[in-house]
């Protein structure tokens, strides 16, 4: 979060402790022209855990991943991955990381097996060994039937699995997943989530960027929210939700035109600012959950407001995201950008 001290910070605070942080970032900065993509970010990911990196488009998520994966050089700060410096030790680091990107980076004209064999050989393995490893991965990702078909005949989900398999060829201890399920159908997403969970159970450290908050909630032990290149918050999903506040009462109105009446009727029972109408539901922050629904219904009936549905809800990561990135204060029509 701080800026100013750039190269002065030595790497002593982020030494290569073996069972501590697998990824350790200090004061990382990167600009493209006038745009500060990363503006002094600190971040730690413990070995064998998943960190979900959240933020709107252009927040700096991909820049962070690209620096950690040695594809970009930072302007300032340090980044250590698997005990190695992402700039000074880039060649050695490439042996220890896997990268699966947004675009399913496989060669469409090669078969699944040829793709994995090529990657294995580029890690320096002889062809026979690379092929064996390729077959092993295809089996694990249930692609063996399609092993000898060009990847252009694969479905979206199959390509993502092949892409992930390619990232795993060298059994890397640290894995970067840049929006791994972007554009996948729900069933393929679920299957990919289960695969990722399996990898983490085996000890892999994962840094995951995503725009899907349910994905982060499910996979990530800790979450970091960034925007405009700055770290806004970091913690477990529960910690972040608690920071946003307690429970929320959500009331769906029979007629949206009565929103103002509803807000006026409920303002007395809100524990935190006035109730909000977001175009669909009226939200009221409540600390005391028992009796809240009955209380609210009575007030609304008295005010003559028709209620279609009413429920108590814990804050979701959507609420966290909106609260942190400031979009929550925007007019009702502004939906979170998916």
């Amino acid at each position: 979060m701080r800026r100013g001290k750039r190269s002065a910070a030595p790497s002593d605070s982020s030494g290569p402790d073996l069972d501590g942080a697998a990824i350790s970032v200090r004061d990382l900065a990167k600009s493209f022209g006038k745009v500060r993509a990363l503006d002094g970010v600190d971040l730690d990911v413990e070995a064998g855990t998943v960190l979900g990196l959240l933020g709107p488009n252009g927040a700096g998520k991909t820049t962070m991943v690209r620096i950690l994966a040695t594809l970009l050089k930072p302007d300032g700060g340090t980044a250590r991955v698997a005990g190695l410096d992402a700039v000074r030790d880039e060649a050695a680091l490439r042996e220890r990381i896997g990268l699966a990107g947004q675009y399913a980076a496989v060669d469409e004209n090669l078969t699944g097996l040829e793709n994995l064999t090529m990657v294995g050989r580029l890690y320096g393995e002889p062809r026979r060994v690379a092929k064996g490893r390729g077959n092993e991965l295809l089996e694990r990702f249930e692609l063996l039937d399609a092993a000898n078909r060009p990847a252009k005949t694969y479905s979206g989900g199959m390509r993502r699995r092949l892409d992930l398999a390619a990232a795993l060829v060298a059994n890397p201890p640290v894995l970067f997943l840049d929006e791994p399920t972007n554009g996948l159908d729900p069933r393929s997403r679920l299957a990919l989530w289960e695969t990722i969970e399996g990898l983490v159970a085996d000890g892999t450290t994962v840094l995951l960027t995503t725009q899907y908050l349910d994905e982060a909630d499910r996979l990530a032990g800790r979450i970091a929210v960034i925007d405009h290149g700055r770290l806004l918050a970091e913690g477990t999903p529960d910690e972040l939700k608690d920071r946003v506040g307690g429970e929320r009462l959500e009331i769906q109105l029979e007629r949206a035109a009565q929103a103002e009446d509803a807000v006026a009727a409920l303002v007395a029972m809100s524990d935190e600012g006035p109730p909000r109408f977001n175009g669909e539901v009226v939200q009221v922050a409540v600390r005391q959950r028992s009796g809240a629904i009955v209380d609210a219904v009575e007030r609304l009936v008295k005010a003559g407001v028709g209620v279609a549905d009413i429920a108590l809800r814990r804050p979701t990561l959507d609420d966290v995201f909106l609260a942190l990135t400031g979009h929550a204060a925007e007019p009702a029509e502004e939906q979170p950008d998916r």
């Binding site: 040695t70 594809l71 490439r94 675009y103 496989v106 040829e114 580029l122």
Partner: protein
């Protein structure tokens, strides 16, 4: 160094394996130039006077030079696609040689260019072309063509990485190569052109290269054309290979 060669071969293999699977590229290499040969031989050729040569002898070296120069398109299109589909990112995240992606690409072009030269020479022989030179000169001509094609592969590698899309690579490459290949001695004698075009054609490296090919394969009087053609070709490599490599290092694939 050994690692670079190994990785280059892996990438070259990858680029060659895919050619039969994307047959439209193979057609661009083989059928299209054959159509050109037939067009000029049988449609335009009768109206073009080439003192000292039969038109088919005059034509074949010219059309081979043109075809080989355009052969680098495969590199431009392929690199551009790799960049935008994230494959370059994958390669750059691997512990492989940094030079191998480009070297593998251009080496694969050597193979496809050799194939194109064979197809065109065979077509030429079928419609009346014949060599009028010794074995050493003929082999020298093949060598010049492969080197010339290799040089243009680097030009196209650079082009493929600076333009935004494969379509853009296609049109920019075409706009540059079209005048170079047609305002030259490839299809008609330079003397038959108006003064302005003639001046351009006389300094055009394509003219130099085509004349060198005619010297090597037809024993035409060459002057310094042969050495000049080799010098031009090497100069193109010396300029564009480092440009392409520098561009590759900075490539982000955004």
């Amino acid at each position: 160094m050994r690692r670079t060669i190994k990785d280059t071969l892996v990438i070259a293999e990858r680029n060659l394996v895919r050619i039969p699977r994307a047959p439209e590229l193979l057609l661009a290499f083989t059928v299209q130039p054959i159509m050109f040969v037939l067009l000029f031989r049988y449609v335009f050729g009768g109206a073009i006077k080439t003192p000292g040569f039969s038109y088919v002898d005059f034509l074949v070296p010219g059309i081979i030079v043109q075809t080989i120069a355009f052969g680098g398109f495969v590199t431009a299109l392929g690199l551009n696609e790799d960049l935008h589909k994230g494959l370059i990112d994958r390669f750059r995240s691997l512990p492989m040689s940094r030079a191998a992606v480009l070297a593998g690409r251009t080496c694969a072009d050597l193979v496809t260019n050799a194939l194109a030269i064979m197809v065109l020479v065979l077509t030429g022989l079928l419609i009346g072309f014949s060599f009028h030179a010794g074995v050493v000169q003929i082999i020298g001509g093949f060598a010049l063509m492969l080197l010339f094609g290799y040089a243009f592969s680097w030009v196209f590698a650079f082009l493929g990485m600076i333009v935004s899309s494969a379509e853009a690579a296609n049109s920019v490459g075409f706009i540059v190569l079209f005048p170079l290949s047609f305002i030259s001695s490839a299809f008609v004698p330079v003397r038959s052109m108006p003064a302005v075009l003639r001046a351009f054609a006389q300094v055009n490296p394509f003219t130099l290269t085509v004349d060198a090919m005619r010297a090597l394969w037809l024993d035409a009087p060459a002057g310094n054309d042969v050495w000049g053609a080799f010098a031009w070709t090497i100069a193109i490599i010396v300029v564009f290979a480092p440009l392409a490599v520098a561009r590759y290092r900075r490539a982000t694939g955004q």
